[in-house]
C-alpha cells in the first residue's frame, strides 16, 4: 500500500492536472445541461483544439530546454500561406505540398535555433523577432488576401473521419474496434512491463491495484470511443495526434535524445560537462518546433479551408499556457508530453464549455488567465512543499 501511495504522490502533479481536467469537464457538463459530453461536441472539441495540441507538444520540448518560442503562430500562418499558394495557385499535388511545407517549417526552426543555440541570443528575442518577421512574410506572400479553397483530400486531414466497416451498424464499428484493439495492446504492454519488473525484482504495484488501474484506463478509453462512434467515428486528426503523442512520449522518456533534452534544461553546465552536446540539442529542439508549427499551420488551414493573413494569431500563447498548466517548469528540465496535452485540453474544454453556457469572450479571456496563474501557483506550491 505504501508503494502505491508513493507512486501516487510521485505522479501527483500529473494526476492532479488530470483530475482537474475531469472536474472541469464534469462542471461544464452540468452547467451546459449535458451538451459538453454529447458525441457531436466531443468530436468538435477534438477538431477545434488539434492544432493547439500539436503546438503544445513542440512547445513543451522548447520549454523543457529552458527556452520559449513566441513565433509559432506566425510560422503556422506562414506555412499555411505557402501551402495554399502551392496547392491552390499552382495545383501541386497535396502530398508534395505537405512535405515541402514541413521542410519550410523546419528551415524556419533551424534559422531561429541557429541564433538561440550558437549565437546565444535569448530565445525570447529571437522568436519575438520571428513572430513579427513571419507574420510580415505571411501578409506579403498572400498579398493581404485569403487564398482558398483547398483540395478535398487535403481538407480531410482536419475534417475527415476514418471510414466505417461495411456492415451498416448504427454505431461506427471501426471506432469501437479501434478502442478494443488499443485496449488489448495496452494490456499486453502492461503485462510485459510487469514481467520485466518481476525478472529484475523491481518494486511494482500490487496485482489488484495494477488491475484496477488498467480497468480504469480501459473503461475511459472505450467510453471515449463509444461516444465518438455514436457520431461520425474517429476523426483523422485524432489519429495523427495520438501518433504524435506516442512518438514524443517515447522520445522524451526512452531515448538518449530525450534524456539529453531534460538534462540540458535541468542544468546546462552539468549536462555539457557530462558530454551532452548542448548547442546541438538546443538547435534541433527549435528545428522540431518549426516543423510542428508548420504541421499545425497545415491542419489549421485545412480546417478553415483557407489561408488567411490573420491565421494563427495568439496560438503561441495557448501552446505556452498548455505546457505550463500541464506541469512544465519555467526554469526548464521538467515537463511531460501527456501533461502538455492535458494542459491543452483544460484550456480547450474551458473555451468550449464557457461558449456553450454563453459566457462572453471578455469573461472567457479573464477566466483563462486566472486558471493559468492558479495552475502554475498550485504547482510551485506543491514543489516547495515537497522539498
Amino acid at each position: 500500500m505504501t508503494t502505491a501511495l508513493r507512486a501516487l504522490r510521485g505522479n501527483f502533479r500529473q494526476y492532479g492536472m488530470f483530475i482537474a481536467l475531469l472536474f472541469i469537464m464534469l462542471l461544464f457538463q452540468l452547467l451546459s445541461g449535458g451538451i459538453l459530453l454529447k458525441p457531436l461536441n466531443i468530436t468538435n472539441l477534438i477538431l477545434q483544439n488539434s492544432y493547439i495540441l500539436i503546438l503544445a507538444i513542440g512547445m513543451l520540448l522548447v520549454i523543457i530546454t529552458g527556452h520559449i518560442d513566441l513565433s509559432v503562430g506566425s510560422i503556422a500562418a506562414f506555412v499555411g500561406a505557402i501551402s495554399a499558394i502551392l496547392m491552390v495557385q499552382h495545383q501541386m499535388p497535396y502530398p508534395a505540398a505537405i512535405v515541402i511545407s514541413l521542410l519550410i517549417g523546419a528551415a524556419v526552426g533551424a534559422w531561429q535555433g541557429f541564433w538561440v543555440a550558437y549565437m546565444r541570443i535569448p530565445s525570447f528575442i529571437v522568436t519575438l523577432a520571428g513572430m513579427l518577421l513571419f507574420r510580415g512574410l505571411t501578409m506579403l506572400v498572400l498579398n493581404g488576401k485569403s487564398v482558398a479553397p483547398f483540395p478535398n483530400e487535403f481538407r480531410s486531414i482536419s475534417t475527415g473521419f476514418v471510414p466505417d466497416l461495411p456492415f451498416g451498424w448504427e454505431l461506427h464499428g471501426a471506432t469501437i474496434l479501434a478502442g478494443i484493439i488499443v485496449s488489448i495492446l495496452y494490456l499486453f504492454m502492461e503485462w510485459r512491463a510487469r514481467l520485466v519488473q518481476k525478472r529484475y525484482s523491481f518494486e511494482q504495484l500490487s496485482l489488484p491495484l495494477a488491475a484496477a488501474r488498467a480497468a480504469g484506463v480501459i473503461l475511459i478509453l472505450n467510453l471515449f470511443t463509444y461516444v465518438l462512434a455514436s457520431y461520425k467515428g474517429l476523426p483523422n486528426i485524432l489519429i495523427l495526434l495520438m501518433v504524435l503523442v506516442v512518438i514524443y512520449t517515447f522520445v522524451m522518456r526512452k531515448t538518449v535524445m530525450g534524456r539529453h533534452i531534460y538534462a540540458l534544461g535541468g542544468n546546462e553546465k552539468a549536462a555539457r560537462l557530462s558530454g551532452v552536446k548542448t548547442k546541438k540539442v538546443t538547435f534541433w529542439v527549435f528545428v522540431n518546433m518549426g516543423a510542428m508549427a508548420a504541421l499545425a499551420g497545415l491542419v489549421f488551414a485545412a480546417r478553415l479551408n483557407a489561408a488567411t493573413p490573420k491565421a494563427g494569431v495568439n496560438f503561441e500563447l495557448d501552446a505556452i499556457a498548455a505546457a505550463f498548466i500541464g506541469g512544465a517548469s519555467a526554469s526548464g528540465g521538467v515537463g511531460t508530453v501527456v501533461g502538455a496535452i492535458v494542459g491543452g485540453l483544460v484550456m480547450g474544454v474551458m473555451n468550449n464549455g464557457m461558449s456553450l453556457i454563453g459566457l462572453g469572450i471578455d469573461y472567457q479571456q479573464g477566466i483563462k488567465g486566472l486558471v493559468l496563474l492558479l495552475a502554475v501557483a498550485f504547482d510551485l506550491y506543491n514543489k516547495n512543499k515537497a522539498s
Binding site: K254, T255, V256, A263, G266, K277, S387
Partner: protein, 510 residues
Amino acid sequence: MEALLEMRGITKAFPGVKALENVNLKVEEGEIHALMGENGAGKSTLMKVLSGVYPHGSYEGDILFNGKACEFRSIRGSEQQGIVIIHQELALIPQLSIAENIFLGNERSARGIIDWNETTIRTKELLQTVGLGDSPQTEAGSLGVGKQQLVEIAKALSKDVKLLILDEPTAALNEEDSENLLRLLLEFKKKGMTSIIISHKLNEIMKVADSITILRDGRTIETLDVRADEITEDRIIKGMVGRDLTHRYPEREPSIGELLFEARGWTVSHPLQPDRMVVDGVSFEVRRGEIVGIAGLMGAGRTELAMSIFGQSYGKRISGQLFKEGKELKLRDIPQAIDAGIAYVTEDRKEYGLILDEDIKRNTTLASLKSISKWFVVDDSREIVEAEGFRKRMNIKTPSIHQKTGNLSGGNQQKVVLSKWIFTGPDLLILDEPTRGIDVGAKYEIYTIIHQLAEQGKGILMISSELPELLGMCDRIYVMNEGRFTGVVPRAEASQERLMKYMTGKGDTP
C-alpha cells in the same frame, strides 16, 4: 599606538560548521594589517562579520571601532562608520561609467536629482588620487582588470573611508598592476589611512604589511609584528599550516604501473582576456595505479588546467600535447574526452555536477547513456540495475534510486557524481576538490573509493585545497602557482611547509 579596530571573541556558526571560533583581531591606527591563512581558514567570513554582511546578532563577540562598540546590521551601517570593503570579485557594473559606478548608491544629488557636475568633479579628484587618467565618462567594462581595481579603490575613497579592507586585491592582476596597487596602498598609509589586506601572496605581504594576523581553521593562531621582529616567509607558512594531521586516511599499498597519461607544455589563455595565460607551459604525467595531487591556492589555475584537458571545456588558444599510453590525444570536445577514457569530477557538484531536479538513476547514467542503450533507446531496466549497483557499492544513503539528487546530503551527492564518472569506464579520473563541504565520515568513504580506483589500475589526478588531504592520499604532488607548476614533491619528501612554499610562488622551477 591606538587600536582603531578590535574584534573580540568572534564566533560565527553555519549549519553544521563553525566558520569562526573565538577569533580576535586588533588593527592599529595607520597600519597595513595583513590577514593570512589557507583557503577556508575564515578570513573572508571574518571580514563579512566586520562589514555587516552578516548582521549583528548572527555571530557572537564584540566589535570595537574607534573605541566604540558597533552593531552593524548591514553594509550600509559599517560604511557610515568608514569601514569599506573591496571584494575579491570586482563589483563594478560594466555598463555604467566610472563616475556612475563610483557614486552608485551614494549619488551626489539634491532632492533625488543627480548633480552631474559635482559627480564629475569629485570623480576626477578621486581618479587623480588613485593615479588613473581616464575620463569619468568611460564605461567601466571597457577598462582592464587593473584599472577596474583602481576604480574600486576610488569608490571606497569616495565614502570617507577610515578603514579600507581589500580581499585578495591582486589575485586577478598582472605583476605591473599589482606593484602599482601596492605602491598606492603605501601612499595611503603615509596619509594616515588604515587598511586590512587579505592575500595569499607572501612576497606582497612582506613588502607592505606592518603586522600579520594568521587564521587557521576558524581560529586566530597569532599576530606577528613585522616592524618589531624579523619575520621570514617560512615563519608565516609555519603559522598557516601548523596543524596536526587529525584527519584519518585509509591504508594503501600503492602499486604503480606503466605511464598512463602525459601532458606536455600545456598552455591555456583566459577566454575573455586572450593575452592572459591561465595555464602556462604545464607538463606532468600520471601512471597507472598512481594518485597524483595538484596543490595550489585559489586562482592558481588548477580547475582551468583540468577543464582545458577535458575536451577543451575551458579557455582559448589552447596549445601543448596530451598523450595516453604513448599515443597523442586530440580532444576537441567533451564527448571525445569521455570516449578517450578521461573523466572530470567537477568541483562544484550542485552547479556543475548534478541535475538536481532529476533522480539518482538518471544522474548516474547521464554521461554514459550510449552504453545502456540500443538504437538510441535507453534500456530502463538495465539503467535501474546499474544505478542500484552503484548505490550499493558506493553506499549512497537514500531510500531509493528514484530520489531526486537535490534532496541528498553533500556526501551522498558527491557519491552520485563519482558513480556517474566511474560508470563511463575511465582510465584517468580528474577529481576536483572531491571532498569539499562534506563531513568527515563521508570523506573517509570517498578516500576508500579513490583507493579502490587506483588499485584497479586507473590513474587519479586529484586537485585539492586541503594540504593534509593531499599529503594523506597522494603518491606525488605537483604544486601550481599562477598558472605554472612550481614544484613536484614525492610522498616521502612532502610536508605542508614545503608545499606552501611552492604554492606561494617561493619555489624553484622544476
